[in-house]
């Protein structure tokens, strides 16, 4: 049984006569924030699931950005014969510095007033300058000798020292202690390894913190590539329909037939292991879903009167597609994207688990692989990275779910 939809706004149509007075009534209940994006975000993060998800992602982001500061074998500050130095700063890499600049920059721009476009411009400029500068200027020592500071500390060569909360770098195998590795969490009294150590003797927590960078980067960049390709191709298919649509859909079907994992395996076999290659491949095989969503939305929007009006006003195609249609049709793509990030993280973890991930740097999937390969079952090596993967994928799914509910017109109407 259907109910009339015009139940709540009980305004008097006759009151339109009063439109010349400034205090004339507004018909619908006015929501505090005006733009669609603000309203959608407001509705999304009203839900506790999305809040928990966001909290975890924020925590992960902070860990990823500050990884070389939180978990490092280099002391933050030390005083040797009255001279104060910071080995940590000396050993920061160009990428670390750029990430830190980006993080601070985002924080500052968030607080400062200004239009979104201006902020975007400032952000991009600052990032590119700092990236170029740090690559030219910052030359960390090629050779990493983690033990030297601990050695100095033990031989009382140092007056005082401030170390990181987790004083182990991910590739610091603690040779100087003669550890055999595979130490249980919090087993030794003198050196606390919160999550234990792996078979080489490196600290699991430190490796996990550093691995969060890969997890976040692969999720965002791979999904970003997939979304950009999908939106452009899907948008053109939906707007022009007819022949363009037919050709586009055939391309979509071809790409959908490619098994991503096997393509990744093949590429790793041919071109070696590279994180960027992985991102690009996950991106260019995963856009078809987004293209389908955008196509369907655009086919619907094209018939809407405001799009017809935009055509009748002679607006350029760019404006019609990206200004009038895209913001009205992007919602399902955003929902799909938050699930896409989760699946990209899983794809990377799968590859690393299969032993085809990165060599030098730790990643969660590779740590799981280590747990499987070692001779005895060491629960801490499986539980913590596995839990991190689970929580991250879960967090993105929670956000995606909340976003889907928030933009659902049927739940959001009244």
């Amino acid at each position: 049984m259907q109910l009339p939809t015009r139940v709540f706004p009980m305004t008097d149509p006759m009151s339109e006569k009063t439109h010349n007075s400034t205090d004339s009534t507004t018909p619908t209940p006015v929501i505090v924030s005006n733009t669609f994006v603000q309203r959608a975000l407001h509705n999304t993060f009203k839900r506790w699931g999305a809040r928990i998800g966001l909290l975890w992602i924020a925590l992960l982001t902070i860990f990823a950005v500050f990884a070389p500061i939180i978990a490092t074998s280099y002391p933050w500050l030390l005083s040797q014969k009255g001279i104060i130095t910071s080995p940590l700063v000396q050993h920061l890499s160009a990428v670390d510095v750029t990430l830190l600049v980006a993080f601070v920059n985002t924080g500052v721009l968030w607080v400062l007033p200004g239009s979104a476009q201006q902020k975007m411009l400032i952000f991009v400029t600052v990032i590119s300058i700092s990236f170029a500068a740090s690559y030219v200027l910052i030359k960390p020592p090629k050779l990493a000798i983690y033990e030297q500071y601990r050695f100095n500390q033990n031989t009382k060569n140092i007056d005082w020292v401030i170390t990181a909360p987790i004083p182990y770098s991910p590739q610091d195998y603690l040779r100087d202690y003669g550890d055999t590795g595979l130490e249980k969490p919090l087993a030794a009294n003198n050196r606390s390894h919160w999550f234990g150590t792996e078979e080489n003797g490196a600290d699991v927590l430190s490796r996990m913190i550093h691995a969060s960078r890969i997890a976040l980067a692969i999720g965002f960049i791979a999904t970003g590539i997939a979304m950009s390709i999908g939106v452009v191709i899907g948008g053109l298919m939906g707007f022009f329909s007819g022949k363009t649509d037919m050709i586009g859909m055939r391309i979509v079907e071809v790409f959908e037939a490619i098994p991503t994992l096997f393509l990744l395996l093949t590429f790793v076999a041919f071109f070696g292991r590279s994180l960027y290659l992985m991102m690009v491949i996950i991106g260019i095989t995963g856009w078809t879903g987004y293209a389908r969503y955008i196509r369907a939305e655009f086919l619907r929007l094209r018939q809407q009167d405001f799009v017809q009006a935009a055509i009748a006003l002679g607006l350029p195609l760019r404006s019609i597609l990206f200004r009038h249609m895209l913001p009205n049709g992007i919602a399902p793509v955003l929902v799909a994207a938050s699930f896409g990030v989760a699946s990209a993280i899983l794809a990377e973890a799968t590859l690393s688990f299969l032993g085809l991930g990165l060599v030098g740097e730790p990643s969660w999937g590779q740590m799981l692989n280590q747990a499987v390969r070692s001779s005895s079952f060491n629960w801490w090596m499986a539980a913590f990275p596995g839990g991190a993967i689970f929580l991250t994928v879960f967090a993105y799914n929670l956000i995606g779910e909340a976003l889907r509910d928030a933009i659902d017109p049927y739940l959001n109407k009244s």
Partner: protein, 567 residues
């Protein structure tokens, strides 16, 4: 169930018997989502009485609470958000001595009453029938539910009889049809058949003809009138169309903001309204507006200076069938139309739904590409120009749409909506200048300049339609197509919009192509009228002549079907 339908229709003792008596009915909605206990008083204390064999019309503008009143009677409102703090709805069934208060009756008994003693017809014939069952099954199911003693074969016979009653041709075959195989008017007849199959004593019809064409509406109204008299039913007829009221109503109540403003016999309320609201509403009817029409510029009808000329314009949509999508035929939406639109005049195109009038309008703007023919604007043929070459002409040709909900981009505020096209066409030197022009536009359509920074969802339908007009005017066009611009609006708002258009025409010397199905509006606004039927223009001429002395057979049929308030 009684054998009431066999009783003589004009039973005078029955006619005055009350059937439904509503006293001080209140229906409130609790809108909890706006933090706090907001209460919307949708129906706020109405009293009315419907007698047997009487058609009681409830008229009001959208949001006045008429449909909510009907749903309250049926007990169909969601219980969790509605409450009835006061009032009673007394129903006097034939076979019982006592009356029943429908507000307090248990749900199980209400289910028995619903459908068998009180039936309802909804507005949308498209949505009201289930597309996966054939119409027979749907009616038989309702019948068997209320008359379990009937056998399936008997129920089927009864259904065929009901379909015969509503004048469906070949009911024996049609009973096995699915809803999509029927036309809109036939579907509404099926809805009526479903409602009357159980021989209800009270029929509630909520805007049953609003979605139908006038010629179909006429047939449905005649049918309802006849059935009502034959069966001595009470009918509660909800509508916003005073013409329909004049045609079928016995009594009339005007509703406004949840209250009944005026109640009385149809003639007394229509021709001698007492309350100021009713007076204003009746004065806003296009039929009555005519007396106050502002003086319009005198035009030379024989002027050969045509702004737009259409020659053999065709818009054919191919019908593709089979594996290789071969074109097997065409839907001739616009078929060899020749039309001349003189400068500075308002030309109305009238016709029923599906006659091609909207397609014609959009093909002039090349929103739909014409298949063949010429569109000549100011002496230049523009039908073969490509996208880029046509862009300068977009400035001179504009369009206003029917649906105020979808005609504005919900994500852009009004200032962007108005200034973006100006920037594209190099109107105004700077953004500040363009904003100044936008403010002037809003003033011209009689809106507050502060509205510039609002978003479309913050406006009412009438205000949105004004913004649509402002957007069309933003490029300073010579020619505007108004595509059913008032059909989604209430009659008082419609009157304001029409007056505004006439005013703007005078100020700016606009030429308008006014597409509508509302003959009243045509008579009020247009200088010339063209009647369209099945893709062709069957008659064209000066409006007064067409409406007063139609020549073509179809025009005569169309005009005679228009419900009018006879003076």
């Amino acid at each position: 169930m009684t054998n009431q339908s066999q009783q003589p229709a004009a039973n005078s003792t029955q006619k005055s018997q009350p059937l439904l008596k509503i006293s001080n009915l209140k229906t409130w909605f609790n809108a909890q989502q706006n933090n706090g206990d907001d209460i919307v008083k949708a129906v706020d204390g109405i009293d009315l009485q419907i007698n047997r064999g009487e058609t009681f019309c409830l008229v009001g503008e959208s949001g006045s609470g008429k449909s909510i009143s009907a749903l309250s009677i049926m007990g169909l409102l969601p219980k969790d958000v509605t409450s009835h703090p006061d009032g009673e709805i007394l129903f006097y069934p034939q076979d019982q001595q006592n009356s029943i208060d429908l507000l307090t009756v248990p749900e199980a008994q209400m289910r028995d009453i619903r459908g068998s003693q009180i039936a309802m017809i909804f507005q949308e014939p498209m949505n009201s029938l289930n597309p996966v069952f054939n119409i027979g099954e749907q009616i038989i199911e309702a019948l068997l539910l209320h008359h379990p003693e009937l056998s399936y074969a008997a129920a089927r016979q009864k259904t065929i009889k009901a379909l015969t009653d509503v004048q469906i041709p070949n009911p024996e075959q049609r009973i096995d049809n699915y809803p999509h195989q029927l036309s809109g008017g036939q579907r509404q007849r099926v809805m009526i058949a479903m409602a009357i199959a159980c021989e209800p004593e009270l029929l509630i019809a909520d805007e049953p003809t609003t979605a139908l064409d006038v010629t179909v509406q006429k047939e449905v109204l005649l049918l309802m009138q006849e059935l009502q008299q034959r069966r001595n039913m009470g009918v509660l007829f909800i509508t916003h169309d005073f013409g329909v009221v004049a045609e079928i109503g016995d009594k009339l109540a005007v509703m406004h903001q949840g209250k009944l403003v005026e109640t009385g016999s149809v003639d007394s309320v229509l021709f001698n309204p007492q309350q100021p609201y009713t007076k204003k509403l009746i004065a806003a009817l296009p039929h009555n507006l005519k007396q106050h029409k502002p003086p319009q510029p005198q035009l030379d009808i024989n002027d050969s200076n045509h702004l737009i000329q259409l020659k053999n314009l065709r818009v054919w949509f191919p019908i593709n069938k089979g594996f290789l999508k071969q074109t097997v035929g065409h839907i001739k939406a616009v078929d060899d139309v020749d039309l001349e639109i003189p400068r500075g005049q308002i030309l109305a195109i009238v016709g029923e739904s599906g006659c091609g009038k909207t397609t014609l309008g959009r093909s002039i703007l090349r929103l739909i590409e014409p298949t063949a023919g010429q569109i000549i604007i100011n002496g230049t043929d523009v039908s073969n120009l490509d996208r880029q070459e046509f862009r300068p002409y977009r400035k001179t040709l504009q369009i206003i749409f029917q649906d105020p909900m979808s005609s504005l981009n919900p994500r852009l505020n009004i200032s962007t909506t108005l200034t973006e096209p100006m920037a594209v066409h190099n109107i105004g030197e700077s953004q500040e200048h363009r904003l100044q022009l936008a403010v002037e536009l809003l003033e011209q359509v009689q809106l507050n300049p502060d509205y510039l920074w609002r978003y479309p969802h913050q406006f009412s339908g009438g205000q949105r339609q004004r913004i649509g007009i402002a957007r069309a005017l933003a490029l300073n066009p010579d020619f505007i197509i108004c595509d059913e611009i008032t059909s989604a609006l209430d009659v008082s708002v419609q009157a304001e919009i029409l007056q505004l258009l006439l005013e703007l025409r005078k100020q700016r010397g606009l030429t308008l192509l006014f597409i509508t199905h509302n003959i009243g509006v045509v008579e009020y606004i247009s200088d010339e009228t063209a009647v369209m039927y099945q893709g062709k223009i069957v008659e064209q001429g000066v409006t007064d002549q067409i409406c007063g002395n139609p020549q073509h057979e179809y025009t005569q049929k169309l005009l005679s079907a228009v419900p009018r308030i006879a003076a």
